[in-house]
């Protein structure tokens, strides 16, 4: 039984029911209707630069191998032998032209095709071309970001990303070559909390001044000042569940290149020279004033200025945040600072993320308490407005991103 009235009860204007974060039945429905349906970020092409490189990523709770196959093309392979279901690869990463299942020695090329099986006379008449490794039905890349959908049909990746594509372009444009490199390796941070607490936190500008006051009070931080009550940063919804915090109004007011990174041009001379050479001084200056985006691409790709996070759901009450430093191709000067700052800030021991994650876990435990039944997400409802492009915007501390995420979530969960 599943009338829309059920969703009317669970998701009301500015209110969401606590069971949405802890009910395993709802989680199973999310896997089918969101994670195995819409476009999911899988990985970045720079993680597998060489022919035959592979790395294990995920689509929702399911592992998937991202491979640069023997023809140099990006392939996604499901790590399940078509014979009995064994894993054809148990390494997280490596370089291999083929994968052999250890159980009965079926061997697959790294484009998924079955090359051969042991004692083939027992398979008289079998069609080998139908016994390859399975692949997600749809795979598309945008500027090196590889996305997949487990649905045979649906919106294109470009339709899914919509206006949020600007944020991906903005990120790439900060690189002098226009290319990002995400090969510095991921930290894998487990948390006993529902994935949507993470999703909603990423563009919640209300929490940093409180959750992160410990580090803001002892370190110079470029971000602390963006989230005060008098900040002129905004939140924006691109639709389709994509949200961002847009601090560019604040940075444009400051009119200082690299202020977004808490730096100045004279501290990054090589990077600035690269930018000027690549874009011309005028455009380079604009890019370096605006800085990197802070955008949450629904449901699992979070670009947090100098880091990317990939959110993986494990169960209704367990999730993993995979995070790495963004690197600009061929810009070692700024890359080292990105790595150093990332290692300080994020991951299981990070100055910021350890405390965010503590909040997720406390939220999760809180939902075992029965009343009030609904979470309250009405902050800033009265001051929502549209920008020149027609996107909903609000103050950087408003709940607008959460409301917009839930609106899209409901549309996916209701669709049959």
């Amino acid at each position: 039984m599943e009338q829309s009235s059920r969703w009317d009860q669970l998701i009301r204007p500015g209110l969401v029911h606590g069971s949405l974060y802890c009910d395993e039945t709802i989680f199973k429905q999310e896997v089918e209707r969101i994670w195995f349906k819409t476009w999911i970020y899988v990985g970045h092409e720079s993680e597998i630069p060489n022919v035959n490189d592979f790395v294990t990523k995920s689509i929702g709770p399911m592992p998937v191998m991202m491979v640069r196959n023997r023809h140099g093309e990006i392939d996604l392979l499901l790590n399940r032998c078509p014979h009995r279901g064994n894993a054809v690869c148990v390494q997280d990463k490596g370089n291999r032209a083929s994968f052999t299942c250890p159980y009965h020695s079926w061997t697959f090329a790294n484009d998924g095709a079955l090359i051969n099986y042991a004692f083939p006379d027992g398979y008289a008449g079998a069609d080998k071309s139908k016994l390859g490794l399975a692949k997600p039905p749809r795979v598309e890349s945008y500027r090196g970001f590889v996305f997949a959908s487990m649905a045979l049909e649906g919106p294109t990746l470009a339709e899914h990303l919509g206006g949020a594509i600007r944020a991906l372009d903005q990120a790439c444009e900060n690189s002098p070559t226009g290319e990002l490199d995400l090969s510095a390796g991921f930290l894998h941070h487990r948390t006993r909390a529902n994935w949507k607490f993470i999703l909603e936190n990423e563009c919640d500008g209300y929490h940093p001044g409180f959750v992160h006051s410990s580090i803001f009070s002892v370190a110079d931080s470029a971000i602390g000042s963006l989230y005060g009550g008098d900040a002129i940063a905004i939140t924006r919804s691109f639709g389709n569940g994509h949200t961002e915090v847009d601090p560019r109004p604040e940075f444009r007011r400051r009119n200082q290149p690299m202020s977004w990174f808490g730096a100045t041009v004279d501290r990054l001379p090589r990077y600035v020279a690269q930018m000027n050479a690549a874009y011309g001084e005028k455009r380079a200056r604009e890019i370096m004033i605006d800085g990197m985006p802070h955008v949450m691409i629904f449901p699992n790709l979070f670009i947090a200025e100098i880091q990317i996070f990939v959110i993986q759901p494990v169960s209704a009450t367990e999730s993993i945040q995979h995070v790495t430093a963004i690197q600009f191709k061929n810009s070692p000067e700024i890359n080292r600072r990105f790595r150093q700052q990332t290692m300080g800030s994020v991951g299981p021991a990070g100055f910021l993320l350890a405390d965010d994650t503590e909040m997720y876990e406390r939220n999760q435990r809180g939902l075992e308490i029965k009343a009030p039944e609904y979470l309250y997400l009405k902050r800033g409802e009265h001051r929502e407005r549209r920008d020149a492009d027609g996107y909903l915007i609000g103050h950087s501390t408003d709940d607008l991103p959460s409301r917009e995420i839930w609106r899209h979530y409901r549309s996916l969960m209701e669709a049959r």
């Binding site: 390796g185 930290l187 487990r190 002892v218 290692m343 300080g344 991951g347 100055f351 503590e358």
Partner: protein, 177 residues
Amino acid sequence: MEPDILKHWTGRSSAEAAAFDHELHHEVAQFLYREARLQDTHEYDAWEALWTEDGVYWAPANGQDTDPEREMSLIYDNRSRIALRIRQLKTGRRHSQTPPSQLARIIGNIELLTSGGDDIGVACNAQIFETNLRGDTMWAARCLYRLRRVGGELKMAYKKVALVNNNKAIYTISFLI
């Protein structure tokens, strides 16, 4: 560019000391037990005072011998970042340590290693029981130290904590490991 401070001591070429020095082994063991106690009991200033001025505190991720100048680590602190870590803990608003983790750790398998110069190379294992608001967690690590005698006292110039499960998804670890 800052120097590649860890290339000299990633444990790749660890070798046991040629002759066993009972007295030194005992002194090192006492130092490690004291360090363990200061961490378990959150005596932050006393722990920070164990570091030399050029101390490096490193917890690699995704392996025991990655290159921290190229790849992500859980912790890769120079001396000033060690101080920052301590200052954050001491604010009382480090939420993941408020209340602080309750801890007991066992240090064992202490071996003296050869090391260049005057520093004393040490390898040991640490097993740490943590309980906090989330629940109980067991941690295990292989550690490498470079200890240096400063004004007659042993100090830590380098500490590497390689969690044995650092290639997997792990819970928050915001106490001093």
